[in-house]
């Protein structure tokens, strides 16, 4: 897993670094002091190596904590596992954010489109009924006008 790989490579570098910075190498660089105090040189070296490893490991833990690396590595491992079947290269951001963002809008627009189609159809249906009522009302009024006209003519 990515988490283990991360720890392994970092620890390997630390081990190799410590191996490279051997006591012999240390004593040969601090020859003048080593001649004067060989035991002290040895204990200073050991303390140095212990502290160096401890503080680097602690700092790496800090980096992992700060970046939530464990969590991210695990979820990335899962995503990689899920994408195993996928042979083709996957989509990647085009580099023009507004274009990518707009196509991320597609499902909402499609949803909005089908919603609008539905409500428009309902509204047209309502309006059809309203129009029928209006036409009936107009017919009624025409009828009343004709009745009044007939009465008027009768009196005329």
């Amino acid at each position: 897993s990515r988490g283990q790989l991360f720890d392994t490579v970092v620890n390997t570098v630390l081990e190799k670094l410590v191996a490279a910075g051997s006591y012999e190498r240390f004593a040969s660089c601090y020859r003048c002091f080593y001649k004067l105090q060989p035991e002290m040189t040895r204990s200073i070296y050991e303390e140095f190596i212990f502290q160096l490893q401890a503080s680097i490991k602690e700092e790496i833990q800090e980096v992992k904590k700060e970046g939530k690396l464990e969590l991210l590595f695990d979820s990335l491992d899962k995503l990689v596992e899920e994408a195993k079947e996928q042979q083709e290269p996957a989509w990647r951001p085009s580099g023009t954010p507004e274009e990518d963002a707009s196509s991320a809008m597609v499902p909402y627009l499609l949803k909005h489109q089908s919603y609008l189609r539905r409500v428009l159809k309902e509204k047209e249906k309502d309006n059809k009924q309203l129009a029928e009522a209006v036409l009936a009302g107009r017919g009624r009024i025409k009828e009343l006008q004709q009745q009044i006209q007939a009465r008027r003519e009768a009196w005329e």
């Binding site: 105090q37 309203l130 009522a133």
Partner: protein, 200 residues
């Protein structure tokens, strides 16, 4: 680096290079700090040997020599570490699509298709608004019709009232009654004339 690894940055929330740099700095800083500690400890130990003739400058040279060796070695080690981290740990394989981008897989819309979809949604919105205002206009006409219908029915009632008054007074057909009345008046006139003549 040539490859900004933007997609990885989208996933991690920081660029892989930043992470690698943090690791590099962790090693380098602590190596440096520890060297200074070693040097200060040695200098302190030397205080106990005043006739050792070892000067701080000499110790400093030793420190620089050991630090330079360690740093050079570390840089060699680190270039491999960087490769492994960037290629195997902090990278997103090309076939992997992040969950938040699934939408691009499901809806691979080109710019033109997207524009067409947007246009259609706008057209639908416009149509819906037009239908809604048409619905309001139709409702308003129904209200108007109620008023007009009421007025017309009132007039018809008035006519009906007029006619029922006529009926109540026995003149269901005004025209006939009027003709009858006129004839009667004429007859009355004739009778009156007759009477006049006889009287003379």
């Amino acid at each position: 680096s040539v490859n900004p690894m933007a997609y990885e940055a989208q996933f991690f929330g920081f660029s892989p290079q930043t992470c690698v740099l943090r690791v590099y700095i962790a090693f380098q800083d602590y190596l440096f700090d520890m060297m200074l500690v070693v040097e200060s400890v040695i200098l302190k130990k030397l205080d106990a040997f005043p006739d050792s003739k070892l000067s701080p400058l000499q110790i400093r040279k030793c420190t620089e020599k050991f630090f330079a060796f360690m740093k050079e070695h570390f840089n060699k080690l680190f270039s491999n570490l960087e490769k492994v981290l960037l290629q195997l740990v902090l990278n997103i394989p090309p076939n992997l699509l992040l969950p938040e981008d699934k939408v691009h897989q499901q809806y691979p819309y080109s710019r033109e298709q997207f524009q067409a979809l947007q246009d259609e949604v706008q057209e639908l919105q416009r149509q819906y608004r037009a239908e809604a205002s048409a619905g309001q206009a139709l409702r308003a006409e129904l209200e108007e019709q109620k008023v007009v219908q009421a007025e017309l029915e009132k007039i018809l009632q008035w006519f009906a009232g007029l006619e029922s008054i006529c009926r109540e007074h026995g003149t269901s057909n005004v025209k006939e009654s009027f003709t009858f009345l006129t004839q009667n008046s004429k007859k009355l006139q004739d009778v009156l004339k007759d009477v006049e003549k006889k009287r003379k």
